[in-house]
Protein backbone atom coordinates (compact mmCIF):
# COMPACT_ATOMS: atom_id res chain seq x y z
CA UNK A 1 0.00 0.00 0.00
CA UNK A 2 1.24 3.46 -0.89
CA UNK A 3 1.29 6.02 1.87
CA UNK A 4 -1.22 8.70 0.81
CA UNK A 5 0.59 11.89 -0.14
CA UNK A 6 -1.13 15.20 -0.65
CA UNK A 7 -0.92 16.86 -4.07
CA UNK A 8 2.08 19.04 -3.23
CA UNK A 9 4.02 16.13 -1.74
CA UNK A 10 3.26 14.03 -4.79
CA UNK A 11 4.44 16.79 -7.13
CA UNK A 12 7.66 17.15 -5.16
CA UNK A 13 8.18 13.39 -5.25
CA UNK A 14 7.97 13.45 -9.03
CA UNK A 15 10.21 16.54 -9.23
CA UNK A 16 12.82 14.85 -7.04
CA UNK A 17 12.83 11.76 -9.24
CA UNK A 18 13.36 13.91 -12.35
CA UNK A 19 16.19 15.78 -10.65
CA UNK A 20 18.10 12.47 -10.32
CA UNK A 21 18.36 12.32 -14.11
CA UNK A 22 20.08 15.70 -14.37
CA UNK A 23 23.86 15.60 -14.47
CA UNK A 24 25.81 18.81 -15.03
CA UNK A 25 27.19 20.61 -16.79
CA UNK A 26 23.98 21.16 -18.67
CA UNK A 27 21.32 23.76 -19.41
CA UNK A 28 17.77 22.94 -18.50
CA UNK A 29 14.49 24.67 -19.33
CA UNK A 30 11.70 24.13 -16.81
CA UNK A 31 8.04 24.31 -17.79
CA UNK A 32 5.16 25.53 -15.65
CA UNK A 33 3.91 23.34 -12.76
CA UNK A 34 5.78 20.25 -11.54
CA UNK A 35 8.82 21.03 -13.76
CA UNK A 36 9.36 24.30 -11.86
CA UNK A 37 9.72 22.28 -8.64
CA UNK A 38 12.62 20.27 -10.10
CA UNK A 39 14.93 23.21 -9.36
CA UNK A 40 14.47 22.64 -5.62
CA UNK A 41 15.74 19.07 -5.87
CA UNK A 42 18.77 19.43 -8.13
CA UNK A 43 21.99 18.33 -6.49
CA UNK A 44 24.57 19.13 -9.16
CA UNK A 45 26.06 22.65 -9.01
CA UNK A 46 26.63 22.81 -12.73
CA UNK A 47 23.05 22.82 -13.89
CA UNK A 48 22.02 26.14 -15.41
CA UNK A 49 18.39 27.05 -15.85
CA UNK A 50 17.03 28.74 -18.97
CA UNK A 51 13.66 30.41 -19.07
CA UNK A 52 12.23 31.19 -22.50
CA UNK A 53 11.04 34.66 -21.57
CA UNK A 54 14.68 35.71 -21.70
CA UNK A 55 17.05 34.61 -18.95
CA UNK A 56 19.84 32.06 -18.70
CA UNK A 57 20.84 31.54 -15.07
CA UNK A 58 17.56 31.33 -13.15
CA UNK A 59 17.73 30.87 -9.38
CA UNK A 60 15.10 31.01 -6.69
CA UNK A 61 14.46 34.24 -4.86
CA UNK A 62 13.44 35.07 -1.30
CA UNK A 63 10.32 37.15 -0.64
CA UNK A 64 12.41 40.20 0.26
CA UNK A 65 14.17 40.28 -3.08
CA UNK A 66 11.20 39.71 -5.36
CA UNK A 67 11.38 41.90 -8.47
CA UNK A 68 8.14 42.02 -10.50
CA UNK A 69 10.15 42.36 -13.72
CA UNK A 70 12.28 39.28 -13.07
CA UNK A 71 10.12 36.21 -13.66
CA UNK A 72 10.14 32.75 -15.20
CA UNK A 73 7.92 31.36 -17.96
CA UNK A 74 5.15 30.82 -15.41
CA UNK A 75 5.41 34.53 -14.49
CA UNK A 76 6.64 33.56 -11.03
CA UNK A 77 9.38 35.70 -9.43
CA UNK A 78 12.90 34.28 -9.76
CA UNK A 79 16.45 35.37 -9.06
CA UNK A 80 19.51 35.56 -11.30
CA UNK A 81 22.59 33.40 -10.89
CA UNK A 82 26.18 34.60 -11.03
CA UNK A 83 27.00 34.70 -14.74
CA UNK A 84 23.37 35.11 -15.80
CA UNK A 85 22.41 36.88 -19.02
CA UNK A 86 19.24 38.47 -20.38
CA UNK A 87 18.10 38.37 -24.02
CA UNK A 88 15.03 39.03 -26.15
CA UNK A 89 12.40 36.45 -27.11
CA UNK A 90 13.73 35.69 -30.58
CA UNK A 91 17.24 35.12 -29.24
CA UNK A 92 15.77 32.94 -26.50
CA UNK A 93 13.88 30.74 -28.93
CA UNK A 94 16.84 30.70 -31.30
CA UNK A 95 18.70 29.02 -28.44
CA UNK A 96 15.88 26.53 -27.97
CA UNK A 97 15.12 25.71 -31.60
CA UNK A 98 18.79 25.77 -32.54
CA UNK A 99 19.55 22.87 -30.20
CA UNK A 100 21.52 24.80 -27.60
CA UNK A 101 19.39 23.81 -24.59
CA UNK A 102 20.22 20.35 -23.23
CA UNK A 103 17.04 19.35 -21.43
CA UNK A 104 13.45 20.59 -21.41
CA UNK A 105 11.12 19.44 -18.65
CA UNK A 106 7.48 19.83 -19.54
CA UNK A 107 4.06 18.96 -18.23
CA UNK A 108 1.66 16.93 -20.38
CA UNK A 109 -2.05 16.20 -20.62
CA UNK A 110 -1.51 12.92 -22.47
CA UNK A 111 1.39 10.79 -23.71
CA UNK A 112 1.07 8.04 -26.27
CA UNK A 113 2.89 4.72 -26.24
CA UNK A 114 5.61 6.05 -28.52
CA UNK A 115 6.31 9.08 -26.35
CA UNK A 116 4.35 11.62 -28.40
CA UNK A 117 2.75 14.17 -26.09
CA UNK A 118 -0.29 16.46 -26.06
CA UNK A 119 -0.07 19.45 -23.74
CA UNK A 120 -1.51 22.58 -25.29
CA UNK A 121 -5.14 22.16 -26.23
CA UNK A 122 -8.29 20.33 -25.14
CA UNK A 123 -10.98 20.18 -27.83
CA UNK A 124 -14.02 22.20 -26.79
CA UNK A 125 -12.25 23.90 -23.90
CA UNK A 126 -10.89 27.42 -23.62
CA UNK A 127 -7.25 26.38 -23.41
CA UNK A 128 -5.81 28.62 -26.04
CA UNK A 129 -2.18 28.78 -25.18
CA UNK A 130 0.74 26.95 -26.70
CA UNK A 131 3.52 29.19 -25.34
CA UNK A 132 6.95 27.69 -25.89
CA UNK A 133 5.96 24.01 -25.74
CA UNK A 134 6.23 23.28 -29.46
CA UNK A 135 9.58 25.06 -29.70
CA UNK A 136 11.02 23.16 -26.75
CA UNK A 137 9.88 19.84 -28.18
CA UNK A 138 11.60 20.37 -31.51
CA UNK A 139 14.70 21.99 -30.07
CA UNK A 140 15.80 20.57 -26.72
CA UNK A 141 18.36 17.78 -26.91
CA UNK A 142 16.36 15.77 -24.35
CA UNK A 143 12.75 16.20 -23.30
CA UNK A 144 11.44 14.91 -19.95
CA UNK A 145 7.74 14.93 -19.16
CA UNK A 146 6.13 15.08 -15.72
CA UNK A 147 2.45 14.49 -15.04
CA UNK A 148 0.00 12.79 -12.76
CA UNK A 149 -0.45 9.20 -13.91
CA UNK A 150 -4.21 9.53 -14.34
CA UNK A 151 -6.80 12.27 -14.81
CA UNK A 152 -8.99 13.48 -11.98
CA UNK A 153 -11.65 10.95 -13.05
CA UNK A 154 -9.08 8.15 -12.83
CA UNK A 155 -8.75 7.63 -16.56
CA UNK A 156 -5.26 6.87 -17.90
CA UNK A 157 -3.13 9.64 -19.42
CA UNK A 158 -0.56 7.25 -20.87
CA UNK A 159 -2.59 6.17 -23.89
CA UNK A 160 -2.28 4.05 -27.02
CA UNK A 161 -2.84 7.28 -28.93
CA UNK A 162 -3.40 10.87 -27.82
CA UNK A 163 -6.98 12.07 -28.21
CA UNK A 164 -5.97 15.70 -27.73
CA UNK A 165 -3.96 17.60 -30.39
CA UNK A 166 -0.29 16.61 -30.23
CA UNK A 167 2.42 19.14 -29.45
CA UNK A 168 5.07 17.71 -31.75
CA UNK A 169 5.87 14.59 -33.75
CA UNK A 170 9.04 14.30 -31.67
CA UNK A 171 9.06 11.54 -29.08
CA UNK A 172 10.07 12.58 -25.60
CA UNK A 173 12.93 10.86 -23.78
CA UNK A 174 11.45 10.13 -20.36
CA UNK A 175 8.09 10.35 -18.55
CA UNK A 176 7.73 10.70 -14.78
CA UNK A 177 4.52 10.20 -12.80
CA UNK A 178 3.72 9.52 -9.15
CA UNK A 179 3.68 5.80 -9.99
CA UNK A 180 6.64 5.25 -12.26
CA UNK A 181 9.39 6.49 -14.52
CA UNK A 182 9.42 5.44 -18.18
CA UNK A 183 11.89 5.95 -20.95
CA UNK A 184 11.26 5.85 -24.68
CA UNK A 185 13.59 3.40 -26.39
CA UNK A 186 13.39 2.57 -30.09
CA UNK A 187 10.10 4.43 -30.16
CA UNK A 188 8.43 2.42 -27.40
CA UNK A 189 7.70 2.95 -23.72
CA UNK A 190 9.91 1.12 -21.26
CA UNK A 191 9.23 1.13 -17.53
CA UNK A 192 12.47 2.16 -15.80
CA UNK A 193 11.40 2.04 -12.17
CA UNK A 194 8.45 2.18 -9.83
CA UNK A 195 7.99 4.86 -7.21
CA UNK A 196 8.29 3.63 -3.59
CA UNK A 197 5.44 1.27 -2.61
CA UNK A 198 3.93 1.13 -6.09
CA UNK A 199 3.30 -2.29 -7.65
CA UNK A 200 3.62 -3.22 -11.28
CA UNK A 201 -0.03 -4.32 -11.21
CA UNK A 202 -1.16 -0.85 -10.18
CA UNK A 203 0.81 0.70 -13.03
CA UNK A 204 -0.58 -1.79 -15.55
CA UNK A 205 -4.10 -1.13 -14.35
CA UNK A 206 -3.79 2.64 -14.68
CA UNK A 207 -1.93 2.69 -18.01
CA UNK A 208 -3.56 2.20 -21.39
CA UNK A 209 -0.31 2.41 -23.37
CA UNK A 210 1.69 -0.77 -23.84
CA UNK A 211 5.10 -0.75 -22.25
CA UNK A 212 7.91 -3.18 -21.64
CA UNK A 213 10.00 -3.52 -18.51
CA UNK A 214 13.67 -2.67 -18.45
Amino acid sequence: MTVQLNKTEMQHMIAKRVAQELKGPCTVNLGIGIPTLVAEHMTDDHIYLHTENGLLGVTDVDDESVDPNLVNAGKLPVGEAVGASFFNSSDSFAMIRGGHVDVAILGALQVDEHGIIANWAVPGKNIMGVGGAMDLLVGAKKVFVTMSHTSKDGSPKLLKECTYPITSTRQVDMIFTELAAFKVADGNLVLVDLMPGVTLEEVREKTEASFTIE
Binding site: L70, N88, G129
Partner: protein, 228 residues
Amino acid sequence: MAMIQHEITDALSCVKSGDTILVGGFGLIGAPLTLIEALTEKDVKDLTIVSNNLGESGKGLGKLLNQNKIKKGIGSYFTSNRDVGDKYQNGEIELELLPQGTLAESLRAGGAGLGGYYTTTGVGTDLAKGKEEREIDGVQYILEKAIRADVALIRAHKADTLGNLIYYKTARNFNPLMATAAKTVIVEVDEIVEAGELDPEAIVTPFIFVDTIVEAKQVLTKKGVVSK
Protein backbone atom coordinates in the same frame (compact mmCIF):
# COMPACT_ATOMS: atom_id res chain seq x y z
CA MET B 1 15.99 60.93 -34.00
CA ALA B 2 13.08 60.06 -31.72
CA MET B 3 10.72 62.73 -30.44
CA ILE B 4 10.09 63.06 -26.73
CA GLN B 5 6.37 63.55 -26.25
CA HIS B 6 4.98 64.81 -22.98
CA GLU B 7 1.29 64.38 -23.84
CA ILE B 8 0.57 60.68 -24.10
CA THR B 9 -2.59 61.32 -26.09
CA ASP B 10 -0.49 63.09 -28.72
CA ALA B 11 1.92 60.18 -28.83
CA LEU B 12 -0.96 57.95 -29.96
CA SER B 13 -2.31 60.38 -32.55
CA CYS B 14 -1.18 58.10 -35.40
CA VAL B 15 -3.29 55.14 -34.21
CA LYS B 16 -6.50 54.63 -36.18
CA SER B 17 -9.31 52.11 -36.41
CA GLY B 18 -8.37 48.96 -38.32
CA ASP B 19 -4.66 49.24 -37.48
CA THR B 20 -2.42 46.31 -36.67
CA ILE B 21 -0.62 47.09 -33.42
CA LEU B 22 2.29 45.24 -31.83
CA VAL B 23 2.19 45.38 -28.05
CA GLY B 24 5.27 44.37 -26.05
CA GLY B 25 5.35 42.34 -22.88
CA PHE B 26 5.06 38.83 -21.49
CA GLY B 27 1.77 39.15 -19.65
CA LEU B 28 2.08 42.44 -17.78
CA ILE B 29 5.88 42.12 -17.49
CA GLY B 30 7.43 44.58 -19.90
CA ALA B 31 4.04 45.62 -21.25
CA PRO B 32 3.60 49.33 -22.14
CA LEU B 33 0.92 49.83 -19.51
CA THR B 34 0.80 53.61 -19.87
CA LEU B 35 0.31 53.47 -23.63
CA ILE B 36 -2.27 50.68 -23.34
CA GLU B 37 -4.19 52.77 -20.82
CA ALA B 38 -4.12 55.71 -23.24
CA LEU B 39 -5.29 53.43 -26.03
CA THR B 40 -8.33 52.41 -23.98
CA GLU B 41 -9.22 56.10 -23.78
CA LYS B 42 -9.01 56.57 -27.53
CA ASP B 43 -11.95 56.16 -29.89
CA VAL B 44 -10.64 53.38 -32.14
CA LYS B 45 -11.98 49.95 -33.07
CA ASP B 46 -11.30 46.87 -35.22
CA LEU B 47 -7.73 46.65 -34.02
CA THR B 48 -5.53 43.65 -34.71
CA ILE B 49 -3.31 43.19 -31.67
CA VAL B 50 -0.09 41.18 -31.88
CA SER B 51 1.08 40.36 -28.38
CA ASN B 52 2.15 37.22 -26.52
CA ASN B 53 -0.96 37.46 -24.33
CA LEU B 54 -4.03 39.68 -24.34
CA GLY B 55 -3.19 40.83 -20.83
CA GLU B 56 -5.00 39.51 -17.81
CA SER B 57 -8.70 39.77 -17.05
CA GLY B 58 -9.45 43.51 -16.92
CA LYS B 59 -5.74 44.43 -16.82
CA GLY B 60 -3.44 45.72 -19.55
CA LEU B 61 -4.74 44.58 -22.95
CA GLY B 62 -7.56 42.85 -21.05
CA LYS B 63 -9.18 46.29 -20.66
CA LEU B 64 -9.02 46.96 -24.38
CA LEU B 65 -10.49 43.51 -25.01
CA ASN B 66 -13.43 44.21 -22.73
CA GLN B 67 -14.12 47.43 -24.65
CA ASN B 68 -14.57 45.27 -27.79
CA LYS B 69 -11.91 47.28 -29.62
CA ILE B 70 -9.95 44.19 -30.63
CA LYS B 71 -11.07 42.49 -33.84
CA LYS B 72 -8.26 39.95 -33.91
CA GLY B 73 -5.55 38.77 -31.56
CA ILE B 74 -2.30 37.17 -32.69
CA GLY B 75 -0.33 35.61 -29.83
CA SER B 76 0.97 32.48 -28.18
CA TYR B 77 -0.78 32.23 -24.83
CA PHE B 78 -4.31 33.61 -24.57
CA THR B 79 -5.05 31.32 -21.62
CA SER B 80 -3.70 33.95 -19.21
CA ASN B 81 -6.91 35.95 -19.68
CA ARG B 82 -10.11 33.89 -19.35
CA ASP B 83 -12.16 36.66 -21.03
CA VAL B 84 -10.40 35.92 -24.33
CA GLY B 85 -11.81 32.39 -24.42
CA ASP B 86 -15.31 33.62 -23.64
CA LYS B 87 -15.24 36.23 -26.40
CA TYR B 88 -13.83 33.67 -28.81
CA GLN B 89 -16.62 31.20 -28.06
CA ASN B 90 -19.15 33.99 -28.63
CA GLY B 91 -17.59 34.85 -31.98
CA GLU B 92 -16.64 38.31 -30.76
CA ILE B 93 -12.93 38.00 -31.58
CA GLU B 94 -10.74 36.23 -34.12
CA LEU B 95 -7.63 34.56 -32.77
CA GLU B 96 -4.43 33.35 -34.39
CA LEU B 97 -2.38 31.14 -32.12
CA LEU B 98 1.36 30.84 -32.85
CA PRO B 99 4.10 29.02 -30.97
CA GLN B 100 5.94 31.58 -28.86
CA GLY B 101 9.20 31.14 -30.77
CA THR B 102 7.37 31.55 -34.07
CA LEU B 103 5.68 34.72 -32.87
CA ALA B 104 9.09 36.13 -31.87
CA GLU B 105 10.81 34.99 -35.06
CA SER B 106 8.07 36.33 -37.34
CA LEU B 107 8.40 39.75 -35.71
CA ARG B 108 12.15 39.65 -36.16
CA ALA B 109 11.70 38.61 -39.81
CA GLY B 110 9.27 41.50 -40.31
CA GLY B 111 11.77 43.97 -38.95
CA ALA B 112 14.62 42.44 -40.94
CA GLY B 113 12.92 42.72 -44.34
CA LEU B 114 12.43 38.98 -44.79
CA GLY B 115 9.27 37.49 -46.26
CA GLY B 116 9.18 34.32 -44.22
CA TYR B 117 11.24 31.42 -42.96
CA TYR B 118 11.24 27.66 -42.56
CA THR B 119 10.95 26.44 -38.99
CA THR B 120 10.73 22.99 -37.41
CA THR B 121 8.38 24.26 -34.71
CA GLY B 122 4.84 23.01 -35.13
CA VAL B 123 5.54 20.49 -37.91
CA GLY B 124 2.88 17.77 -37.84
CA THR B 125 0.60 19.60 -35.39
CA ASP B 126 -2.74 21.37 -35.76
CA LEU B 127 -0.90 24.71 -35.82
CA ALA B 128 0.76 23.65 -39.09
CA LYS B 129 -2.58 23.23 -40.85
CA GLY B 130 -2.71 25.22 -44.05
CA LYS B 131 0.99 26.06 -43.85
CA GLU B 132 3.41 24.97 -46.54
CA GLU B 133 5.62 22.10 -45.51
CA ARG B 134 8.96 21.28 -47.08
CA GLU B 135 12.04 19.19 -46.56
CA ILE B 136 15.43 20.88 -46.53
CA ASP B 137 18.51 18.67 -46.14
CA GLY B 138 16.44 15.83 -44.73
CA VAL B 139 14.55 17.85 -42.11
CA GLN B 140 10.85 18.78 -42.28
CA TYR B 141 10.00 22.47 -41.91
CA ILE B 142 6.92 24.64 -42.24
CA LEU B 143 6.83 28.10 -43.77
CA GLU B 144 5.95 30.93 -41.41
CA LYS B 145 5.43 34.46 -42.67
CA ALA B 146 6.92 37.69 -41.36
CA ILE B 147 4.75 39.97 -39.24
CA ARG B 148 4.76 43.74 -39.83
CA ALA B 149 2.43 46.31 -38.35
CA ASP B 150 1.28 49.90 -38.44
CA VAL B 151 2.24 50.74 -34.89
CA ALA B 152 4.32 49.21 -32.10
CA LEU B 153 3.70 50.11 -28.47
CA ILE B 154 6.64 48.98 -26.39
CA ARG B 155 8.26 49.44 -23.02
CA ALA B 156 11.95 49.97 -22.28
CA HIS B 157 13.90 50.87 -19.15
CA LYS B 158 15.89 53.87 -20.34
CA ALA B 159 15.95 55.91 -23.50
CA ASP B 160 18.54 58.52 -24.36
CA THR B 161 17.48 61.74 -26.05
CA LEU B 162 18.26 60.27 -29.49
CA GLY B 163 16.01 57.28 -28.84
CA ASN B 164 18.54 54.54 -28.06
CA LEU B 165 16.98 51.99 -25.70
CA ILE B 166 18.01 49.58 -23.00
CA TYR B 167 15.67 47.21 -21.20
CA TYR B 168 15.33 45.78 -17.70
CA LYS B 169 15.76 42.07 -16.91
CA THR B 170 12.93 39.84 -18.20
CA ALA B 171 10.87 42.92 -19.12
CA ARG B 172 12.92 42.90 -22.34
CA ASN B 173 11.12 39.94 -23.99
CA PHE B 174 9.31 40.92 -27.23
CA ASN B 175 9.94 44.67 -26.99
CA PRO B 176 13.21 44.93 -28.99
CA LEU B 177 11.71 42.79 -31.80
CA MET B 178 8.54 44.85 -32.01
CA ALA B 179 10.64 48.01 -32.16
CA THR B 180 11.87 46.84 -35.58
CA ALA B 181 8.62 45.67 -37.16
CA ALA B 182 6.20 48.62 -37.27
CA LYS B 183 5.91 51.81 -39.30
CA THR B 184 5.60 53.89 -36.12
CA VAL B 185 7.27 52.87 -32.87
CA ILE B 186 6.15 54.45 -29.60
CA VAL B 187 8.01 53.56 -26.44
CA GLU B 188 7.38 54.28 -22.78
CA VAL B 189 10.38 54.33 -20.48
CA ASP B 190 11.22 54.63 -16.81
CA GLU B 191 13.83 57.28 -17.49
CA ILE B 192 15.16 59.52 -20.24
CA VAL B 193 18.90 60.23 -20.13
CA GLU B 194 21.23 62.37 -22.23
CA ALA B 195 22.70 60.93 -25.44
CA GLY B 196 26.07 59.45 -24.58
CA GLU B 197 25.01 58.14 -21.18
CA LEU B 198 24.18 54.64 -22.42
CA ASP B 199 27.08 52.26 -23.14
CA PRO B 200 27.37 51.96 -26.97
CA GLU B 201 28.21 48.25 -26.54
CA ALA B 202 25.08 47.62 -24.46
CA ILE B 203 22.40 49.53 -26.38
CA VAL B 204 19.79 46.96 -27.39
CA THR B 205 17.62 49.08 -29.69
CA PRO B 206 19.52 51.71 -31.73
CA PHE B 207 17.63 54.99 -32.16
CA ILE B 208 16.78 54.55 -35.83
CA PHE B 209 13.93 52.24 -34.82
CA VAL B 210 12.23 54.64 -32.41
CA ASP B 211 9.77 57.41 -33.33
CA THR B 212 8.28 58.64 -30.06
CA ILE B 213 9.25 58.36 -26.40
CA VAL B 214 7.00 58.99 -23.41
CA GLU B 215 7.65 58.63 -19.71
CA ALA B 216 5.83 55.72 -18.10
CA LYS B 217 3.01 56.70 -15.73
CA GLN B 218 1.83 53.15 -15.04
CA VAL B 219 4.41 50.88 -13.48
CA LEU B 220 4.37 47.21 -12.51
CA THR B 221 5.41 46.84 -8.85
CA LYS B 222 5.34 44.04 -6.28
CA LYS B 223 1.87 45.29 -5.36
CA GLY B 224 0.60 45.24 -8.93
CA VAL B 225 0.17 48.08 -11.42
CA VAL B 226 0.66 51.47 -9.80
CA SER B 227 0.20 55.00 -11.22
CA LYS B 228 3.31 57.15 -10.90
